[in-house]
């Protein structure tokens, strides 16, 4: 609105003040007037909301009638000079390394776990398996609009414990999450525990040792490659995308999945085509498909050997109505896609009866229904999409948990024993090829 000549002032809670200023800086409006109230207005009685608003009225008026003063400086949003080399001294190398750990972690440049030293030699070595040049900008990474050069990605990959052959996966992942349909800004900045999930297909899985079987989402030595690649993406989101907790990441509680998630599709156990092929890439092309994950719900079914009753169990997990992607399904929001991690036995049961993934999609859509009162409690006509306003006054009406069948996706992964997972999401998946040097 400011860019269209309309003076604007934004009302936020004090909890989100730093985020508001950091966002204004990131999006090019450093001095945007921001007025605070003492606490978030969500889950607050309306009389108190009105009282807060009345108390803030003079400041709101000032924001649109008077020239704003210069905004505060936010250290974490303003990096060192681009060529900065950081030096750490100690009585010996171990002491110097300890100084590095303490400094990086104190600055907020890590995830809390010890970091691998990103020396010049290690970073140079990290970039030897990608055809991209060190100063090539892979993306401008939201929410902080950081320039994701190959070198910056490599620095964070070293810190996470990656090897050079892992960097091409990360580059493809960054390309994918930068596409608008992934909705990275929402995923990264949300008050919810949304996190990106890297799904890898193709020859690179075997080549670099990714785990598609038991414990693919970790922990364990079998998933050591999965672990460091997932971790690197989180460090990239932080240090390149500026998605720092309390600054541009306003997650209320957090989640262990935000440390990193990476798995390979179990192509040997997959009775259908790989998801990368399903999404348009040629067979045999190594690829990543990026999903955003909000919540994970187990699909425990050891009992059913037939497709339809088994599908019922999946539908039960999908009707967990507290999930953001269910609650907001009928709002004016971008697409919110969900992912089913199918255990091999479950996939086999569906395929044995001739079910395709499209059959699964359609049947899950038809079966996963919940009464509106569970989904729409407290929602009114103002926020519900026009074509769904009719349901607001019908609490016992059975509605589907998502707007369209195509918002369900399926990846076969994991070890034996019939436990799948249902993951709700915030954005749409994106698939990109992985490019490596021969």
């Amino acid at each position: 609105m400011e860019r269209r000549g309309r003076p604007t002032v934004v009302l936020v809670s004090s909890e989100f003040e730093e985020d508001a200023h950091a966002s204004a800086l990131a999006f090019g409006m450093r001095d945007l007037p921001i007025v605070t109230v003492p606490r978030p207005l969500t889950n607050l009685d309306h009389d108190t909301v009105r009282r807060f608003t009345a108390d803030a009225l003079d400041r709101l008026v000032a924001g649109i009638t008077r020239d704003p003063s210069r905004s505060s400086h936010f250290t974490m949003m303003e990096p060192l000079p681009d060529e900065a080399i950081l030096r750490y001294e100690g009585s010996d190398l171990l002491a110097a390394a300890a100084g590095f750990q303490e400094d990086f972690l104190t600055r907020g440049w890590g995830d809390g776990f010890p970091l691998v030293l990103p020396t010049e030699e290690a970073v140079a070595e990290m970039m030897t398996r990608t055809p991209h040049k060190p100063d090539e900008v892979i993306a401008v990474l939201e929410p902080g609009m950081g320039l994701a050069t190959v070198e910056r990605l490599a620095v964070n990959a070293v810190m996470a414990g990656c090897r050079p052959e892992h960097l091409p996966v990360l580059i493809a992942a960054v390309q994918a999450i930068s596409e608008p349909e992934f909705n990275l800004r929402d995923v990264a900045m949300s008050t919810g525990p949304h996190a990106p999930l890297i799904v890898v297909n193709g020859p690179i899985v075997q080549q670099i040792g990714l785990n598609s079987g038991r414990g693919a989402l970790g922990p364990g030595v079998q998933s050591r490659v999965n672990t460091v690649i997932g971790r690197a993406l989180r460090l990239i989101l932080m240090n390149v995308g500026k998605c720092y907790l309390g600054i541009l990441d306003l997650d209320t509680i957090g989640s262990p999945k935000k440390y990193g998630m990476c798995l390979a599709e179990n192509e040997a156990a997959n009775p259908w085509m790989p998801i990368s092929v399903e999404r348009g890439l040629p067979e045999g092309q190594s690829a990543v498909t990026m999903f955003s994950v909000e919540s994970e719900i187990e699909v425990y079914d050891f009992y059913n050997c037939r497709a339809r009753p088994l599908l019922q169990t999946f539908a039960g997990s999908a009707t967990s109505s507290g999930a953001c992607s269910v609650q907001l399904s009928f709002h004016n929001r971008p697409e919110m896609h969900n992912l089913v991690l199918l255990a091999p036995e479950h996939a086999e049961i569906f395929a044995a009866e001739g079910w395709t993934k499209e059959d699964l999609r359609q049947e899950l859509f038809k079966t996963a229904r919940r009464e509106w009162k569970w989904i729409g409690a407290g929602q009114d006509h103002a926020v519900v999409r026009d074509e769904w306003k009719w349901v607001v006054d019908r609490p016992d009406e059975l509605v589907q948990v998502t707007r369209e069948p195509r918002f369900f996706h399926f990846v076969v992964v994991g070890g034996a024993a019939g436990k799948s997972q249902y993951l709700t999401g915030l954005g749409a998946p994106v698939t990109k090829p992985i490019e490596t040097v021969p």
Binding site: T8, L32, L41, R50, T53, I64, P68, G90, G146, L235
Partner: protein, 91 residues
């Protein structure tokens, strides 16, 4: 004494800086846009602010309820129908 040197992990930003719009010194009779991102509580705050400003300054109100990312049509709609804007996120 030993020294370790490491590379900077933090990216430069691509942000372009935009100038803020010229402020409107007198609110009497202006068109006030109320932009709500659909987080509960935000609409209550905006409606109350709008009512108070209408009583004090005679502003007229234009409401936009639109979550992120807002389509260009929504942005252009507010720009066409409001002289000043108050936004509320609810958090």
């Amino acid at each position: 004494m030993a020294t370790i040197t490491v590379k900077n992990p933090v990216a430069m930003t691509a942000t372009v800086s935009y100038p803020l719009a010229k402020r409107v010194p007198d609110l009497n009779g202006v068109r006030l846009g109320l932009w709500w991102n659909e987080k509960p509580g935000g609409e209550v705050a905006l409606e109350h602010a709008g009512r108070l400003l209408r009583e004090k300054y005679g502003v007229s109100l234009f409401r936009q309820y639109q979550n992120f990312p807002a389509p260009v049509s929504a942005i252009e709609g507010v720009a066409a129908n409001a002289d000043v804007v108050i936004g509320a996120t609810g958090d």
